[in-house]
Symmetry: C2
Subunit: 380 residues, 2 copies
């Protein structure tokens, strides 16, 4: 840095951004709308803190996110605190402790910011916003379906077109592989081949399960054809229970929301860190990033639960553009009651703080397409 | 801890809390309503990140908050980052950098969480929420008045009764004391006496300024009597400029909003960390904590600015109670279109995930006062 330069205070750490006027408003309204849909389905809002003791935040399901968690020392207690990388484990804590006596199923919603350590040198966002729901205390396909259906309604309200929900059940492929009894290195090779969706390698490494595993790979796609393919597979009774649950969830969702775009990938298992049941990833066409994800897990290591978290900052890139209040310039001295009337009609009033010579030019300079004159509201 | 005990995962660090259902919803709605009033007055929302580089966050006005700031290492850049203890300095950074070319005055609003290190052993909150406005690029009594008037309208919309705004100008009393030319230790003693509002000590320590300083102490109270008392004081021309500005701000506010409860304390100066002009503290009757505070400062060390920040978690204790959607239990199998119609009418529907024997008992168990039967919506 040259001695002539100020430190560049505009520079933010990688993965941390400012949302400016239009984007910040769009994100806030998106959260509001999504939370409103959640509330209409009986999900009650909770707001856990940004930081907790490490022992609490990384308890149970939270362990899976330990590597992604910033920690800092609490000077008061001299114990380590952690910044939340995710809110689901906090909701599970609240359900297990302060809301232990609330009737089940317990439906909770939340919206807030989370912070991730991030991958070294990677560009990805390190502060993410989450807005989600958790349905706690019941283990059924109906419950799994409900969180998807409620999220689908929220996305529809945001005007996001061509949303698709991709269902998977990470435990299913693991069960089929486990039944082969492979040594760990061979198992790892096979899982890697499945993750790459490399049919040739699966044929070589999959032994007796190779035909079933490759049929599962082939099955990935629209829910009806995928479920028909899954139904035709010869599976152990343990694996069949899992496949049937996946089918039951997809069938329940499709029955309730016939127009929904539902895909099933029976071999998808990567990236699910604490999930134990059917999982879902939400996509929009033309949108590289996931809009959200969710699935079934054990809340606080003990209680059945499922949930789905949307990513408002991704949603705002896919949602229909928001309308901001049209701006009207109110020159100094114009009756304040008339400005108030404009606000009540949906305008944003921009007050002139001192008299100016050319009120029309001043209105334009301040980005106002409207001007409140002593006896008229004019459009420029 | 006994070996028989689990770690107490319910325990949060001092000053960090969970807001549960009703409170979390009330806080969110309060923020929404306040931001809506800000938007109606032309304040455009921005959303800076929770963390920034220390050099950026604690730049300029931010230095005053350095002791209250949690820091952590960014493993990516190996530089120190800081968790924001306040959002005003972030807004000033945005105004000075990314929005440097936007027309002035620039009106920005923001809402978000901040984290403070806190005082050792003290009980106070360490995670606070802020919702505020900044009016950047103009130095006038009109501007100072605008932020107070907009905040007053926001509080009125929240139904908070008996709000009062206490105006002060920390530089005024400092100017009067500076003119005495005291040695630092005597000056510190006098400032301490003024802070304690100890008239006897001020009489002893105040030298030639003692009568004026005690008259300023006496002046504190409702704006009209305080301003009359201030107007009658014999002040240096430098101090008179400050007193007149304080009077101009109060007069402008009172003229625009005749019913507002305005007090003036010409000797209040403690707790203003980076403010350079007229300051305001917002109180509600029966509420120990401030609802908010603000004042004039130099944005990014160079641009005149003033702002006001409300504290949504304090507001929600003073605001009128919110109404939640009435809950209606929808037994399994009831037509989903009828449940959707209930939601459209403002109910929260709570879906039965499996058939139950006694739907009325189940509705009550789940906290629903209403029940959707196949042909009727009944109140229990």
């Amino acid at each position: 840095m040259s001695v002539f330069e100020e430190p560049n205070t505009a520079l933010l750490p990688t993965g941390f951004i400012d949302l400016l006027q239009h984007e910040a408003e769009a994100e806030a309204r998106g959260i509001e709308l999504v939370m409103e849909v959640f509330a209409a389905h009986g999900y009650e809002r909770v707001r856990p803190p940004l930081m907790e003791f490490e022992t609490s935040l990384l308890h149970g399901a939270g362990q899976a996110l330990a590597e992604q968690t910033f920690r800092l020392m609490d000077p008061d207690s001299r114990r380590m605190m952690a910044l939340r990388p995710d809110m689901t484990t906090q909701i599970a804590r609240i359900a297990a402790t302060r809301l232990a006596d609330s009737p089940r199923p317990l439906r909770l919603s939340y919206a807030g910011s989370c912070v991730l350590v991030g991958a070294p040198g990677r560009e990805g966002e390190r502060q993410i916003t989450q807005a989600g729901i958790e349905l706690i205390g019941v283990d059924s396909a109906e419950a799994d379906a409900e969180v998807v259906l409620v999220a689908a309604e929220a996305l529809e309200r945001l005007g996001i077109a061509h949303v698709s929900f991709d269902l998977s059940y990470p435990a299913l492929v693991q069960q089929v592989v486990d039944e082969l009894g492979l040594v760990p290195s061979s198992r790892a090779q096979l899982m890697h081949a499945l993750d790459r969706k490399d049919a040739a390698a699966v044929a070589t490494l999959g032994g007796a399960a190779a035909p079933v595993l490759n049929a599962m790979l082939d099955a990935a796609g629209p829910a009806d054809t995928a479920l028909a393919a899954l139904a035709g597979l010869t599976l152990s009774s343990a694996a069949r229970v899992l496949a049937d649950r996946l089918a039951a969830v997809a069938t329940t969702i499709a029955a309730r929301s016939p127009g929904i775009r539902l895909t099933v990938d029976p071999v998808e298992f990567r990236g699910w860190q604490y999930h134990t049941g059917v999982c879902v990833t939400v996509f929009a066409r033309d949108q590289r990033e996931e809009l959200g994800r969710g699935g079934r897990y054990l809340a606080h290591e003990s209680e059945p639960a499922c949930g789905l978290t949307l990513r408002p900052e991704v949603l705002l890139r896919a949602a229909r553009p928001i309308e901001l209040r049209p701006r009207v310039y109110v020159p100094a001295g114009v009756d304040v009651a008339r400005a108030a009337a404009c606000r009540a009609q949906g305008y944003a009033t921009v007050a002139g703080l001192a008299p100016v010579g050319d009120v029309r030019a001043e209105a334009r300079r301040l980005g106002c397409r409207h001007l409140l004159l002593p006896d008229d509201l004019v459009t420029l």
